[in-house]
């Protein structure tokens, strides 16, 4: 078994082990934590293996493998990774492991919870390693559908409604995406070769511009809906608010990144001319999304909604940076994906911890939590500061890189858009500082909160797991951008 396929196989094995052997919560979480611990170790190993392999291998993808799946359609199970996929896989593994620690005490149907969560993760891992459009699409849908059960069964509030809305919007988007993929497939013989789903073979083909203009928006929207593109972001606030903690973490932290990744690797990379023609239109939408999400977050009363809208804002920024056609901005987009993934997962985890103790997420009802929960409070403040871009944390590196890159663009229209988008930083500071100040500082809002139980070991483990990479990216950004540089090169060659 090769190093990459294991990322799909291990979760499947864990799911099987859970279904057949887990009897209760204790066994279920033990199996899950061991399995995902292995997965996490594998992802760390993958980073080093990748760096070692990269030194000797100059291909776009390394650890490639190709097995014919459907001969008739020339569908292959073909896999491979570059630096972008490697960091995304590492992000997924760490968020997932943290999510399992955070769900340590899930009481209702624990076995099924972990099965759904890990089944979902196998889709995510598969998505990031695929280099075949069809296989990638299969994994993408596998990653989306368990969300319905995860939100619907273990969620809170109007969970049935939110789950249905989220599932239908995302599956609707993936349905649109399937038309885009078919369009790409049937144009992949434009230069006379055979029809193919292989991304890198299609990248050699000059698809006619007329076809690119039709299929780029389909593909782009298909992916960007899960990346919270305005006006298709409406599933996100309600979905995240209703989801249980670990699911919000995984969804905002990892699943929404599938959107940006797909947009970059499929929509833009395979349809470069269509992308250029449509770039302005989608730039405006994503820029609007950044501002809209930020102002949306200010208005919210519920902590989870604040974070959900903040995610819309920060992920629109990823799309914005991708459409800026600039090496620096692209690096920034990837770092922003990572940084947002970690930070938003931390936020959702913290909100879950606060909510689990106080049974409210309303900002107005909370206050002075830091006094009774010092560990959670401190991490909350750190996360907030990192989120609004304090130097030394990942958020700063990401946003700085994006804005520097975006402003480099000679086009006046893009510079103006950049300036508009930069102003969202201020708005972000407003809602983050207000929220953190209100719920953490000041006098204790409710006497009953005096005896809230302290953070447990598993909660601390989960948070620290997430915090370490945040600080690492913040302190050592050069290592990461150096690693990404080589993988962005093929995009530069094809798109610029």
């Amino acid at each position: 078994m090769d190093i990459l396929s294991l990322f799909v196989v291990v979760p499947v094995l864990i799911v099987l082990a859970l279904s057949f052997f887990a009897k209760d919560l204790k066994q279920a979480r033990l199996i899950s934590v061991v399995g995902m611990g292995i997965q996490f170790a594998m992802s760390i190993n993958l980073i080093f293996a990748y760096l070692k392999e990269r030194a000797v291998n100059t291909g776009i993808m390394v650890f490639t493998k190709d097995v014919v799946w459907y001969e008739t359609f020339n569908i292959h199970y073909s896999i491979g990774v570059d630096a972008i996929s490697v960091v995304m896989i590492a992000l997924t593994a760490v968020v997932l492991l943290a999510g399992i620690f955070i769900s340590w005490k899930i009481d209702d149907l624990p076995k099924e919870f972990f099965i759904s969560l890990i089944a979902l993760s196998s889709g995510v891992f598969g998505f990031f390693i695929s280099t075949d459009l069809f296989t990638m699409f299969v994994f993408y849908e596998i990653a989306v559908i368990p969300m319905y059960l995860l939100i619907g069964i273990w969620g809170s509030g109007p969970k049935e409604h939110s789950a249905m809305k989220l599932t239908l919007m995302l599956m609707g988007a993936s349905a649109v995406l399937s038309v885009g993929i078919l369009g790409i497939y049937f144009n992949s013989n434009a230069d006379g070769g055979a029809l193919t789903f292989n991304i890198f073979e299609i990248a050699q083909v000059n698809i006619p511009e007329a076809a690119q203009n039709i299929f780029f928006p389909l593909t782009f929207i298909g992916f960007a809906v899960i990346g919270a593109l305005f006006p298709f972001h409406t599933w996100s606030p309600s979905g995240h608010a209703s989801a249980p903690t670990a699911v919000s973490m995984l969804h905002a932290g990892v699943l929404m990144k599938l959107g940006g990744y797909g947009v970059f690797r499929i929509a833009m990379y395979l349809l470069p001319v269509g992308a250029l023609n449509w770039a302005d239109f989608f730039l405006v939408l994503s820029a609007f999304g950044v501002i809209y999400g930020a102002f949306g977050a200010i208005m919210q009363k519920d902590l989870k909604y604040v974070n959900a809208y903040a995610s819309v804002s920060h992920l629109s920024l990823v799309l914005f940076a991708l459409l800026m056609y600039n090496k620096t901005a692209w690096t920034g987009a990837i770092i922003q994906s990572l940084s947002h993934g970690l930070l938003t997962a931390m936020f959702f985890a913290l909100i879950g911890m606060v909510y689990g103790r106080t049974h409210t997420r309303e900002i107005a009802k909370l206050g002075g939590i830091m006094k009774v929960l010092p560990f959670i409070g401190a991490i909350y403040v750190i996360t907030g500061l990192a989120y609004l871009g304090l130097p030394g944390f990942s958020g700063f590196v990401a946003e700085m890189t994006i804005f520097v890159g975006a402003f480099q663009h000679p086009d006046m229209f893009r510079r103006i858009l950049t300036i508009v988008v930069v102003s969202s930083i201020v708005v972000t500071s407003v809602y983050i500082l207000r929220m953190v100040g209100k719920i953490m500082m000041g006098p204790l809002s409710n006497e009953e909160y005096k005896d809230l139980p302290k953070a447990t070991w598993f909660e601390k483990t989960g948070l620290i797991l997430l915090l370490i990479p945040v600080v690492m990216i913040g302190v050592l950004p050069l290592g990461l951008s150096e690693m990404l540089k080589e993988s962005i090169q093929p995009f530069l060659e094809r798109l610029l």
């Binding site: 559908i145 619907g152 399937s178 078919l182 049937f186």
Partner: protein, 476 residues
């Protein structure tokens, strides 16, 4: 005619032998032994199905009236497997409700005659054989629909079914006679050479197509479907929705791709509109259903719309994809109907609301139901996803992207109502949930077979590649 060429009809002869054995059993068994007919018939059919996996040569018999080739043979085996699963699922219903009334052998005789009819229908080489097969496939089902004699709706459904299918057969027959009038032949091969696009031939096609559209329950000929499914015993509804429909789709495809190929301009337009209408009507009506039989009826109407997408691609791709999708659809629908049957025979409950909280009491059944519904909705890695995606591919290969777009919109709508059932089973909790029960052996076997089909037929790609490799056998 020598024995070797006679054996080209091996599948049909096998079914005929089963019929005769069943009749002999019926005559010579006394009342106490009647229950033994169930394992007896099941074993016979299982043997016949297993024989279907042995290879068979292509060829024709009776001067071209009867044709067989690898694709038809594969399809017959699939249908036989479908009927086997269906009979396994209905064995316990028969044991409880039918054996006492001394009607169990007839049930098998009727259903196997109908299967024999579908075999002759799809193997037909001329319109006479086709029509005989069609009638043989239809008439026994009318009796089966009325099998719940103690229920008034069952009789009502039977009357509806027999009247509408008589009308449909009449329309088809009228179309055939007009075709004969234009070409002077009833053989498919010679007709395909002579037929040209004229007003009369188009009229003939329209009548003929309406007749078959009744069987496949395409809009606007779908009105009988929901009522009949609701009134009929569940396994008969299941038979109607998978076996009858699948065979009718196959013969429609064969005729469109061969006999009616000269009219391709016309029928492409007709099919285009019918696809859109069928998908929308099936899907939008399914949303409102409470009774699961009606629900599955509308869902099967919508699925028929999807199947026709394959007709837009008149080549190997379209053929292989339709056959593959029908096979996948048989497994998925049998999974869903099987669960409905299991629950109905335990508790007499058939409404979606009754399924609330089912996962907490009957996790395995709920899981299978979810798999079946997700397969129908087209969620990977289940077989239905691959079937649907390849249908889209077939339509897109001819440039029908708008049609594919409408289809994917419909797939999303269908996901909504399939999720309604999943919601009832998994998300809701109920104090009046159907309590835990253990299904009898035959039912479990039937459900497991369906589940294996749903899980394996998609991911295991050689199945599709095999169908593709044999799908050119009738086109040339």
């Amino acid at each position: 005619m020598n024995l070797e060429s006679f054996l080209l009809m091996r599948s049909e002869i096998g079914l005929l032998a089963i019929l005769i054995l069943l009749i002999i059993f019926e005559i010579f068994s006394d009342k106490k032994q009647k229950a033994a007919v169930i394992p007896f018939a099941l074993i016979l059919l299982a043997i016949n199905t297993a024989l279907g996996f042995l290879p068979l040569a292509s060829g024709e018999l009776f001067g071209g009236m009867f044709k067989t080739n690898a694709l038809l043979y594969f399809f017959k085996t699939t249908l036989s497997l479908g009927v086997l699963i269906l009979l396994l699922q209905s064995a316990d219903w028969l044991k409880e409700k039918v054996v006492d009334e001394n009607k169990a052998p007839e049930f098998f005789i009727l259903i196997i005659s109908s299967l024999l009819g579908t075999y002759f229908m799809i193997s037909a080489g001329d319109f006479l054989m086709f029509f005989l097969g069609l009638e043989l496939a239809t008439l026994p089902v009318a009796a089966l629909v009325a099998y719940d004699t103690y229920k008034r709706v069952s009789a009502e459904a039977a009357v509806k079914y027999i009247l509408s299918s008589a009308l449909a057969s009449g329309a088809a027959l009228f179309g055939i006679s007009l075709l004969y009038a234009t070409t002077g032949t009833i053989y498919f091969d010679s007709m395909a050479e002579i037929l040209t696009s004229s007003n009369l031939s188009i009229l003939a096609f329209v009548f003929f197509f309406s007749g078959l559209a009744f069987k496949i329950s395409l809009a606007p000929f779908h009105f009988w479907t929901a009522d009949v499914y609701e009134g009929a015993p569940i396994n008969v509804a299941s038979y109607l929705s998978v076996i009858s429909k699948g065979a009718a789709v196959l013969i429609l495809m064969i005729l469109l791709f061969t006999v009616f190929k000269p009219l391709i301009e016309t029928w492409h337009k007709i099919i285009y509109i019918v696809i859109i209408a069928t998908m929308f009507i099936g899907n939008l009506f399914a949303i409102r259903q409470q009774n699961l039989k009606r629900f599955l009826a509308y869902s099967s109407i919508a699925q028929a719309g999807f199947i026709l997408l394959g007709l837009m691609s008149v080549d190997n791709l379209g053929t292989a994809t339709i056959v593959y999708f029908v096979a996948v659809y048989i497994f998925s629908n049998l999974g869903a109907f099987g669960v409905v049957q299991a629950i109905s025979s335990f508790s007499d409950k058939e409404n979606i609301d009754d399924y609330e909280g089912l996962y907490r009491t009957n996790p395995k059944l709920s899981l299978l139901m979810m798999l079946a519904l997700f397969s129908l909705a087209g969620i990977p890695p289940l077989a239905g996803f691959f079937g649907k995606f390849f249908l889209y591919t077939a339509a897109a290969s001819q440039g029908y992207y708008i049609l594919v777009f409408i289809a994917v919109v419909n797939a999303t709508i269908s996901l909504y109502y399939y999720l309604l059932v999943v919601r009832a089973m998994f998300l809701r909790q109920s104090d009046t949930a159907i309590p835990y029960f253990r299904s009898p052996f035959y039912m479990r076997l039937g459900l497991i077979l369906a589940a294996i089909g749903i899980l394996v037929a998609g991911v295991y790609s050689p199945i599709y590649d095999y169908i593709f490799s044999i799908s050119n056998t009738f086109l040339n």
